[in-house]
């Protein structure tokens, strides 16, 4: 795996050295490293000749650009009203018990982070969760467990 510095340089090379590249570069880092470390933010500021506070300002604006360490798989359970009525609390509790983490936390083996998200736009098929970029609709606690177990098996 590339070092953070090399990764940033590669992303900047690909996207260009102007301010417009900030978003794709930050997204690229999150894809590889699951979050934006201090080192990564500073590298971006340096490469794009931006103030570090500006880079952090942009990063902190977006929910999907995390600035705290996250697991390899990020589970986001929709917490908005329809999914709530369809039982999202049960889903969260089940996952929380199985993974032994609370919402906002990451497992010891760094495989999973459990988060909630605002409306994912799947109200007709709630409750729903997102794992990384994949949507899982019409969940039951059992179904949610099985999906997460699959991820556990395939993540090293």
């Amino acid at each position: 795996m590339l070092t953070t510095e090399a990764l940033v340089k590669e992303l900047v090379e690909k996207n260009g050295r102007n301010r417009n590249s900030l978003m794709p570069v930050l997204q690229g880092i999150v894809q590889q490293e699951h979050y934006l470390s201090e080192e990564a933010l500073l590298c971006v500021a340096k490469e794009l000749d931006l103030a570090a506070a500006d880079v952090y300002g942009t990063a902190s604006f977006y929910t999907f650009l995390d600035t705290v360490p996250r697991g390899k798989n990020i589970i986001r359970v929709c917490k908005t009203i329809t999914c709530h009525m369809k039982g999202k609390d049960e889903i969260i509790n089940t996952l929380s018990n199985a993974l032994k983490i609370k919402v906002g936390e990451t497992t010891h083996d760094k495989k999973f982070t459990l988060l909630t998200a605002n409306c994912l736009g799947w109200c007709h098929k709630g409750p729903v969760m997102l794992i990384n970029d994949e949507v899982y609709p019409e969940l039951t606690p059992q179904k949610a467990l099985e999906i997460v177990e699959e991820y556990a098996k395939s993540t090293h």
């Binding site: 933010l41 500073l42 103030a51 506070a53 500006d54 880079v55 952090y56 600035t67």
Partner: protein, 597 residues
């Protein structure tokens, strides 16, 4: 190219204004005042606070007057029922997120939001109080600036100031929605980030979210302590601005009154930073000539040019962060404030028979970065902290009010001697271009034996409010010992405001500009626009202060640093000559690279 005139009506009064004028500007011309918070004459338009909303006939929504350009046939109402009710609600909403514990706020009585609340007679809570408990913890990590998020209304004047005027961006908008706040990189404390302590954000903060770290109580305690001998020094730019906080019009000089008030406050001696400004010229002028000689005669490749001034502590910290590869360009001279402290606790203490450990040196400065500067570990060459406390011009005004002094009625008094005599060259340190002009007045005369070839010693090309100025002085008919400078064109440049400084530094780094000497002041207009000066500030106000400074210079009997008799005396009795061993020990310093990000 002339612009089209646009006809409109404001509160039924017709007016024609140039295309592109905002409703706010047009209303001002008709003497209708529209309140503003996020708007500032030095900054770009933001339009986020919404208190300037007005009704435009035919429009569904109210428009922000600061951000809406006029259009043909527009009919604007600045005080309709809809406007008044909305504006009051907007103020109430701002207050619902503002820690309105006004009696305990440093800005009490100097707060634009408080003024607006008072104007609209805001009563009991209409909206829930949404101040976040965690925002109540102030950031007091910086010796210069206190940041209090609970007072912040997120108008972003500070963010724009830091980016647009200073090119630093230590502050940015972080998070979003109800979590939005003004913060630093990763919410680090102010003293850990690239903040230069210039304090320009303080000058533009409409509330008490950004204020100077104040040392008023510490100074009172020193004055009341009978075992302490408290001397005070006043920076050049304080004497032309202090009056603004004490009911005197902008641009009026109050030198004599300021001295009188300081004596009444109980300082043991009232002395002048202008004296050490003259001393700075002797040292810095000689340093420049020495560097030129080493470059031109000795062909010494290690000599670094252009030489850059080092009086402005905001500029110094900027350079340490941003251009740490160019620290050797900086003059090794300490700033006048620090030269004063070092000389006061050695030469002066001896002369008046006071032990240095019993002496407290207080500075009155137009600056908040000076508070940081006096705490730098290098600034202890007397064996003690050379300058103990730094007060801003504003803090001094507060002390004068606390002491019940009727400033307006004071008769002028003179600075104590010694360390109180100064020249006109020293007072112009307070304006952008002033250090350059003062240095040229002395250096030119050292080299040629004649006065600088400008009418009445006024070197006009280095004056004025242009962001970056440059000038060339031809050196002719030199004294024999300076023959290597015969016919040399001395190229100089001046920048004020750190965004301009950055532009100039980029030019220098790329080798696009062959300057010999560069003056940089961290604040717009130089010290007269410093972060410790009375609030508000605007280009107009700074222009008036500048005129006052140059008038003060013209009225001084001595106009050149090297003719200050106290300067002649200190070299004869104590320092020997400029750049002597003793000078190096007390008056010169070094710089340290800091993190760029």
């Amino acid at each position: 190219m002339s612009k089209y005139l646009v006809n409109l009506k404001i509160n039924n009064m017709p007016i024609a204004v140039e295309e592109g004028t905002t409703i706010l500007e047009a209303a001002k011309k008709l003497n209708f005042r529209i309140p503003t918070l996020c708007n500032h004459p030095d900054l770009t338009v933001a339009g986020n606070c919404r208190v300037c909303v007005v009704e435009v006939k035919g429009a569904r929504l109210l428009a922000a007057a600061c951000a809406t350009p006029v259009s043909e046939g527009m009919e604007v109402f600045t005080n309709s029922e809809k406007v008044r009710v909305s504006r009051k609600h907007i103020v109430e909403l701002l207050l619902s997120e503002h820690n309105a514990d006004c009696t305990k706020c440093f800005k009490n009585g100097h707060c634009e939001l408080q003024d607006l609340a008072s104007e609209y007679r805001i009563g009991d809570h209409v909206f829930l109080d949404l101040v976040k408990p965690e925002s109540l913890i102030q950031d007091i990590s910086s010796p210069s600036i206190v940041k209090d998020d609970s007072k912040c209304i997120r108008c972003q004047r500070c963010v724009r100031t830091c980016a647009e005027l200073q090119g630093v961006s230590a502050l940015a908008v972080v998070n979003k929605g109800d979590h939005q706040k003004i913060s630093t990189f990763l919410n680090k404390p102010m003293h850990e980030v690239v903040c230069t302590n210039c304090g320009q954000c303080i000058n533009r903060c409409p509330t008490g979210a950004l204020t100077e770290r104040n040392y008023i109580e510490e100074v009172w305690n020193a004055i009341y302590d009978p075992s302490k001998f408290v001397v005070v020094q006043t920076a050049p730019a304080t004497r032309i601005a202090l009056g603004e906080d004490l009911g005197i019009p902008v641009g009026e000089r109050v030198t004599g009154k300021m001295v009188a008030s300081l004596k009444k406050l109980g300082f043991n001696k009232v002395l002048d930073t202008d004296f050490t400004a003259d001393l700075t010229i002797m040292e810095e002028g000689t340093e420049l000539l020495t560097r030129l000689k080493r470059a031109l005669v000795d062909k010494d490749e290690k000599v670094v040019l252009p030489m850059m001034t080092s009086c402005s502590p905001g500029w110094i910290k900027f350079q340490e962060h941003m251009y740490s590869d160019m620290l050797d360009n900086l003059s090794t001279c300490k700033s006048p404030q620090q030269m004063f402290g070092a000389v006061a606790k050695t030469y002066y203490a001896d002369k008046i028979n006071i032990k240095a450990q019993d002496m407290v040196v207080v500075s009155i400065m137009p600056c908040v970065a000076k508070k940081f500067e006096c705490e730098r570990p290098e600034m202890r060459d007397s064996g003690y902290q050379d300058v103990d406390y730094v007060l801003t011009t504003r803090e001094l005004a507060m002390m004068i009010k606390q002491a019940g002094i009727d400033f307006n009625k004071l008769s002028d008094e003179h600075y104590d001697s010694i360390l109180g005599e100064s020249s006109g060259a020293a007072v112009i340190f307070g304006a952008s271009g002033g250090v350059m002009e003062a240095a040229l007045r002395t250096a030119y005369e050292i080299v040629t034996g004649r006065e600088v070839p400008f009418t009445n010693l006024n070197i006009q090309p280095v004056r004025g409010m242009e962001g970056i100025k440059d000038a060339t002085i031809k050196i002719k008919n030199v004294k024999p010992e300076w023959s290597f400078l015969e016919g040399v064109d001395l190229h100089v440049a001046i920048a004020h405001g750190l965004a301009n400084a950055r532009q100039l530094m980029e030019k220098v780094r790329k080798g696009e500009a062959a300057y010999h000497f560069i003056e940089v002041m961290g604040c717009p207009g130089g010290c007269l626009g410093g972060g410790g000066q009375p609030i508000p500030t605007s280009p107009e106000i700074r222009k008036k202060r500048s005129e006052a400074i140059y008038q003060e210079d013209e009225d001084m009997p001595i106009r050149k640093s090297h003719e200050n008799p106290e300067i002649v005396e200190i070299y004869k009795e104590f320092l020997g000559e400029p750049l002597s061993h003793k000078s190096h020990d007390l008056l010169h310093t070094h710089y340290k690279p800091r993190k760029r990000y």
